[in-house]
Amino acid sequence: MPVVDVDPDELRELTGHEKTDEEFIDDLFALGLEFEGETEEGELQLEFAPDRLDRLSVEGIARSLRYHYGDARGVHVPDTNDADWTIEVADSVPDERPYVTGAIVRGVDLDDDALDSLIQLQEKLHATMGRKRAKGAIGIHDLAMIKGSAGTDGEANTVTYRGVAPDGDTFVPLDSDAEMSPADVLADHDTGRTYADLVAEYDRYPAIYDDLGLFSFPPVINGRRTEVTAGSRELLVEMTGTDQWTIDRMLAIVCYALSARGATIEDVEVAYPDAAGATSASPDAGADDPDADTPHPSAGRTLVRPDLEVTEKSVSHERIESTIGVAFDPDEVVDLFERSGLDATYTLGEEVVYDVEIPPYRVDVLHPYDLVDDVGRAYGFNDLEPRYPDVGTVGGRHDRSRLEDAARASLVGLGFEDLLNFHMISGPENYDRLRVDPGTEVLGGGDPVTITEPYSEDYTQLRTWALPSLLMVLERNTHRAYPQDLAEIGLAAERDDAENTRVAERRTVAAVLARTDASYEDAKARLQAVCRDFDVDLATPPTDHPTFIDGRTAAVEIDGERVGVIGEVHPAVLVEHDLELPVAAFEFRLDALE
C-alpha cells in the first residue's frame, strides 16, 4: 500500500486548522490513512489503500480533511484558461505507447516544501496508477526553457510527441552533464538502466521535441534543460502512456494539487495524427517507419486537456439504506455526499434516486455502489451499531477435512507427533536426496509441478510426496530427544495434464519412526492399527523402492488397491540426512481410508 510523507506544518497551512500532530493522526485514521511513523524530518508517514490516489500528496490530503471538517462542500473544479500550447503527436510515435496528455500551469510559486510534495506526488502516481511508469509516466518541465515550434497546422507553441531511433538524437538527461542518445541513457545512466526494461522491446523510443530538439525521453527521463526548480514559475506537465483515461486521471490529480498551491491551469491541445496518417513532424524519425500501415488508435482526434470534466452516476436511496443499515432522510444523504466532495440532487417520487456528480480526481468510482461507501464514510462507519444477521444456515465440515481429522487423530493416538510442512519444496529435496528419479512409477516419482519464476531455490515445485518433508524435519532436529515418531497429513501434487488444473492434487498420509531400534515391524504395526481404525483391508506385498532397503519394502495395498509404500529407509538416505539411527516409514493416499 502506498505511503505518503506529509509535513504537518503544511497540513496546518493548507487546511487552516491549527491542530496538533496527534489530532491530525486521529482525523486521518478516520479517513483511512494510517500513521506508520515519522521521517527524520518529522514528517508523518501515512499509509493507505490505493483507491484514493488523489491523496498521494499533502495537497490532496488537506483537501480531504477540509471536506471532513466541513470547510469544503460539494464538487470543486479549478478554472482553466484557454489553450495556448499544443502537443502534436507524430505517426512515428511508438505503437506501444501511443497516448499523451498535458497541461500548462502558470503562476506557480514553489517553495522547497511544495517542490518536494510535487516530486513525491509524481513518484507515487508512477508507482500506483502508472504501474511503475509502464502505463503512465509524468514529465514536468520548466516552460520557460521550452521554445515552441510551429506545428503542422501552423500553430505556434507546439511540442511534438514522436518516436526516435535508439541511437538517434542526443540530449543531456537529468543528473548528467553528457549529451546522450536514448540508447546511451539506457546503457549508461542510472535512471536509464532502472527503466530500460519498459522500452526494451521498442523499435523506436518515445521522445518529446520542441523547436530546440529532444527534451524528454518518456517514460525514462527528462532532459536537464527543462528541469523544474524552486524558481520555476510556469510549467509544462505532460504524461505519456498506454491508456488515455489513465494518464488523463493522473493529470487531473496533479492539476488539483498545483491549483491548491494557487497556480492557474491552462488547457493544452493534444493533436493526434490525421486519420490518413500523413503527418510526420520530423523526417529523420520516420525514415524507416515500419508501422506506416498501422494508424494511430486515436488518429484524427484532437483533445483539450486537462480533462477536468465532472462525471455523473445514479444511486438509489434504498440501496444506500440497505447497504449501510440505517434509515436516512434524503437531505441528510445529500449533506453526506457534499461532505464527501460530491454533489447530489434527487427527485422525490416512488423511488428516490440521487444523481451524483463526481470530480475528475476520483479515480476509484467505478460503480454507483462506490458512492454508497462515501456516504458511509461521511456518516462514520464506526458509529454504526453492529447486529448479528438474522439469517439461519446449517454449518458443517467438508467430508475430506473430516476424514483428514479422523486419520490425524488415529496417528496422534498411536504416539505420532503431527507435523505441518510446506507444500513447496526443491527438486533435490523431493527426489535426489531420497534416491528417487522424477517420472518414475514409484511413490514420489511423479512429474513435478514447477514454479515459473521461483523466488528461492529452496522452493521451486510442489512436493510429490510428504516423506521428504519429514526427513528434513528429522535432519533439523537431531539434537532433540528421541524417539522421534513424526506424521503428516498434507497436500502432495504432481503434473497431470488430464486434470483441468493440470495438477493431480491428493492428501497424503506420511509417517516416520526414528529410534535406535526402529524396524519394519514397528511401522507395519502402526499402519495396521490405522487400517483397523478405518475398517479397511491392508496387504503389504513385497516391492522395490529406491528410498527403502531391498527386502524390507512393501507396497501398501488398501482394499486391494496400491496406495503407498512402507519400509525401512535406506542407509544412504539416512546418511544423506545426517541421521545416525534407523528410520522406518510409510506413506499412502488419504482417500484410501474413505
Binding site: 483515461w245 458443517g396 475430506r400 507427533e417 507435523l419 510442512n421 524435519v473 497436500l491
Partner: protein
Amino acid sequence: MRLTEAQLAVLEAASATDDRPIDDLAAEIDEKPETVTRAAFQLEDEGLLAVSETDRVSVRITDEGHEYVETDLPEIRLYRAALDAGAADAPRSMGEVIGRADLEGPAVDIALSNYARKGYGTIESGEITADPDMDPAEDPESLALEAIVSAAADREGADGTPADRQTTVQPPESVDADVLESLERRGLVERSESTVRSVALSEDGVTALMEGIETAETVDRLTPELLTSGEWRDVEFAEYNVEADAETAAGGRKHILRQTADRVKDVLVGMGFREMEGPHADAEFWINDCLFMPQDHPARTHWDQFALDLPPMEEIPPGLLDRVERAHREGWGEDGDGYHSPWTEDVARAIDLRGHTTSLSMRHLSGFALGDLEPPQRFFSVEKVYRNDTLDPTHLLEFFQIEGWVMAEDLSVRDLMGTFEEFYRQFGITDVQFKPHYNPYTEPSFELFGRHPETGELIEIGNSGMFREEVLGPLGVECDVMAWGLALERLLMLMYGFDDIRDVHGTLCDLELLRETEVVR
C-alpha cells in the same frame, strides 16, 4: 532423606554412644520388637545405624523350682530334720528322718541324692548322719533360685505388669555358672540362649537427624501378588514425594496450527458456516479475474504470486468467462465503468498457486463447485494459500487463510460488523474496530483491528467487505455477499506470542517447541 515412621522413631531413639538393644528401643517407642528389628536393618542398609549382635542367656524358674522357693529344697528339709533327730551326734535311721522331714514320693530321692552331694551329711546302710557345720541358709542353689525370682520380680515391676512364673531374666551376677548348671540339670531352672541385636547411630545417622528427615510408608508398589494374596489389607503404602518432577511423557499431539485451525472451524461451524474445498493450483480466472482484480494489478505479477509451468486451463464456463471479461472491460450495470487495463483470456487461463482461498468462494458462488446456491448461505475454509513474499519471522511463502462469507438478501454493513464481532469475541477480542479500506473486489471494505489480549496493542486482525457488483453480477448472484479473510498464523501468533512463525510451520520447525507449546482450548 525419606524414612518410614518406624524407621524414624528407631533412629531418634538410638544413641551414638551406646549400643541399645532392640527390645529396649521397642519398649521406648512403643513398637513391636519385630517392627523395630526390620526398621533397624533397613536403617543399617541406608548406613544410618550400626546393628551389633550378641548371644544372651536367659533363665526361667520352673514350676518345681518355684515350689522349692516356697518350701525349701528337699535336701535342706532333710538336713533340718536330721539335725532335729540328733544325727549330728550319731547316725539315725533314714526312715525316721525322712518321716520327720515330711518328704514323699520323688522328693525323697531328690533329697537323698543331693544331701550327700552338697555335704550335708552321709547316707550309709539306711542310716543318715548330719554335718553340724553346714548352714542351709547359705545353700548356693537355694540362694540362686531366690536371686532369680527376685530379678524376675524387679523386671516385671519395671514393666508395670504383674510378675509371673513365665518371666525370663538374665541370670543375676551373684549366681555361679556351676550352680546354674546344677539347677538346670535338676530341672529347677530353664535356660535359653538368644541373639540380642543392639543398635547405635552411625555418623551418617547423626548427620541425617541433624538435617531433618521426612517419614514415608512401607510398601513401595502395589503388585499383582499383593492384590491376589489379599496382603494389600495389611500393608501400608509408601508415601511418594508427589511434588517431585517426573520425566515428562512424550506422546503424540496434533500440530499447534492444526489445533488453532480446529478451533476456528469449530467456531465457524457453530455459527452456521459450511466448509469449502477446492484446488490449490487454479486458473487465474478463479483466483483473480472473478475477483475483479485488473490484470495489470501489482499483486498479479510474479513478484506476488507463484505462476506454474503448466498449459492453460481448458474448462472455464464460457458464459461466466464472457461476463467476467465484460465486467473488466466495461464495468457492470448501467452506470458501471470497467478498468482501463488490458484483459486477455490467456492471462485468465494461466495456472497459479492460489494467493488466497477467495478462489474457492468464487467457485462456490458461481455454482461451479456445488451447483447454484440459493440464499441464505454461509461458507468458510481454513486452507493454505501461497504468496511470493520474503521468508521472515512473520511471513511465510505459504500460510493458512481463514476465509468466510455470508450470502443473503439485504445484508448491511451492520450485519458484517455483527458477524465479525461475534467471530472475534470467540477468541477473546472484544473491541473490533472497522477501518474503512479498499479492496478491488469489495465495497465497502474494512480492515479489522483489535487490541492484542496481552499487550493491548491495536493490530490488524482481518480484511472484510461486501463483494462488489462487478464480482457478483458475472457470477450470477443477485443478493448480497459479505466476506472476510485473515491469516490463521496471525491468530496463532496473537494467541501465543510466537516470535518466529518458522519455528512452528514448515521443515525448519523445532520439535521441542512443538512438544512444549500449550494446547489450544
